[in-house]
Symmetry: C2
Subunit: 326 residues, 2 copies
């Protein structure tokens, strides 16, 4: 089994690579080679029992070696995410759209069409707090990143129909807890209200406590990626996209889970007024039915408290070190 | 009022240009200049009372002069249509997607964002005979042309949200009667079963008489294009696409209208068995609710018999001459 991860240095790419290294197998078959691709050559995961190639380059001009001959599974995670795609239109189009075209073109040239697991996003929908989106809800993106992701879905579904490749597309919820620091993304606060208090730091909350969000943990996201890589795709027909079963949670519920794990920690979260962020996040859908995903075998989400505990187990120490917090 | 038509040599582009020349005005304002663009420089419409620039080139490398400074309205009709986009993947992507990107990029550089009227297609939907598609039906294309059109819709809606331009997108039904000859398009028979008998010629019918289709006349399509160019787009919000009010008609109803206009003509239509065509057309949706279009002021369709009479009035003689039928 030969596997490529495009965007292999990213938040999810690194976890996925580590998981593959730990498992040594995917879908019951031994992994014979892993290729990691990102702007700079990614670090190989620790202790892989198979060769790992690490390559740097631009996905819009994908070097063929990023998806070597004989590749069985491509995880296409490389992306310019929402704040950046909004700030730089050409960059978003080049990475999110031309990059996907380059993946399609490379896959066409392989002897057998590989499975391509693509990560689209909840940001390709709008609808806001009131909506509970059905599986056949239309994507009406309210940002360039979402529009580019939705367009890339169409191109990959068409490429699958033509048998250039065999795509399974996950429209991921907001993944929390993202390690690192607060950043300029409108979604930054969703991770920050857990991560910062667990680090003993203050953080700002730009929305009301009853604000609801569609979220998932990185552990669950990696499970879904592995399932998407190995499931039978024929049952999907020409519709290759799925809304995986995330969780609809309010900010209050997140803070409640935080206090359950670290009593009193939510006192470090300070409600602020931030109309710019409020305006952006108001369009985000807060809930999905996600029935198709269950039929297709995607695992339901674990409780919020487990998500918080997993962050502490997997990431808290590394984050503390990275940020020089001793 | 400065207007550009991209795809100005096409079936609809020529009619639109002729109509603008005849009217001399659009939305109550005098037309001061018309630019026509296509692979080869289009012929100017007869008797225009304003200057007409005719330019040749590839839309994927759009020359700025195709959308001159100060352009108020762009009709973006240039396309590689379904049979060709299916046969040549790169060509379809280049014209239908890169071409649309080039239009966006040119419009961004104008001092004021022009109205861009884009023609998407019923072929971006699937669902088949049973479906009656609501206005929020999701596009699950079963062909590359439809996938490229749906992706182009997303890019134009996003460009409108960013105020690079101001798009109104029509998902046109199959336009009948197309003049000319039968061709390799799966939809060729829909026009042929009217056009050929009116020319006194035999033609093949590859589907059953109760097969239903979503159609519109070229006259009505031109009306809709003009309305899309002049209507208030702000009421559309971020969703710039509309399913205009075509007609859901069966093949039997088409043949009935034919006989009403030319008694006995349908005897020239011969039912044949053509599983390849049947398989393609089986995915086409046969009916839409088209409620939003009515709210937005798009004119409902005229009866089928009028459509047949309009073809005779507008096109039959020219078609006879073109085809050397005396
Ligand atoms: N994390 C989330 O909350 C979330 C939610 C929905 C969807 N997604 C999607 O999941 C995927 C992974 O998300 P993530 O959080 O790991 O993102 P990330 O930003 O951490 O990783 C994306 C990676 O893509 C790489 N990249 C950017 N431009 C590139 C280029 N031109 N060539 C090659 N590589 C390039 C980046 O260097 C980065 O390592 C992305 O496609 C993202 O859009 C993520
Ligand atoms: N006619 C229909 O039944 C129908 C139905 C739905 C949608 N549409 C859409 O409406 C529009 C007009 O349709 P039509 O029937 O007039 O199509 P058409 O094929 O007659 O016209 C399209 C024009 O685009 C031009 N073109 C192709 N490639 C080009 C390139 N690289 N650069 C510049 N010009 C290029 C062609 O030369 C042609 O003149 C198209 O966008 C089509 O997809 C048509």
């Amino acid at each position: 089994m030969r596997i490529s991860i495009l965007g292999g240095s990213g938040f999810l790419g690194r976890r996925l690579a580590a998981r593959l290294a730990a498992d040594g197998r995917l879908g019951g078959r031994a992994i014979s080679e892993l290729t990691l691709f990102d702007l700079q050559p990614p670090d190989p995961p620790p202790a892989a029992g198979f060769p790992v190639q690490c390559l740097g380059g631009d996905i819009a001009q994908l070097p063929p070696a990023a998806i070597p001959d004989g590749t069985d599974v491509v995880f296409h995670l490389a992306a310019v995410v929402s704040a950046q795609a909004e700030a730089d239109y050409e960059l978003g189009r080049r990475v999110n759209l031309r990059g996907t075209d380059a993946v399609i073109d490379r896959c066409r040239r392989l002897a057998a069409p590989p499975r391509v697991v693509f990560t689209s996003s909840v940001a390709s929908f709008s609808g806001g707090q009131g909506a509970v989106l059905a599986d056949d809800a239309r994507q009406v993106p309210a940002n360039s990143y979402g529009a580019q992701k939705a367009a890339a879905e169409l191109l990959l579904a068409d490429a699958s129909r033509r048998r250039f490749l065999d795509a399974v597309i996950l429209r991921l919820p907001t993944i929390i807890v993202r390690p690192g620091r607060p950043n300029k993304a409108a979604s930054s606060f969703v991770s920050a209200i857990l991560r910062e208090p667990l680090l003993g730091l203050h953080t700002d909350l730009p929305v009301a406590p009853d604000f609801a969000l569609w979220v998932a943990s990185p552990r669950r996201a990696v499970e879904w990626l592995l399932h998407a890589a190995t499931m039978d795709s024929a049952v999907m027909g020409i519709d290759r996209s799925v809304n995986p079963p995330g969780m609809s949670v309010t900010v209050a519920a997140i803070l409640h889970a935080l206090d359950a794990v670290k009593p009193g920690a939510s006192a470090l979260v300070r409600r602020v007024h931030d109309p710019a962020t409020e305006k952006i996040v108001a369009t985000w859908p807060a809930a999905f039915e996600a029935l198709r995903a269950r039929t297709l075998g995607f695992a339901p989400h674990e409780p919020l408290v487990e998500l918080v505990r997993a962050f502490i187990a997997d990431d808290l120490d590394a984050t503390r070190r990275e940020r020089g917090l001793g």
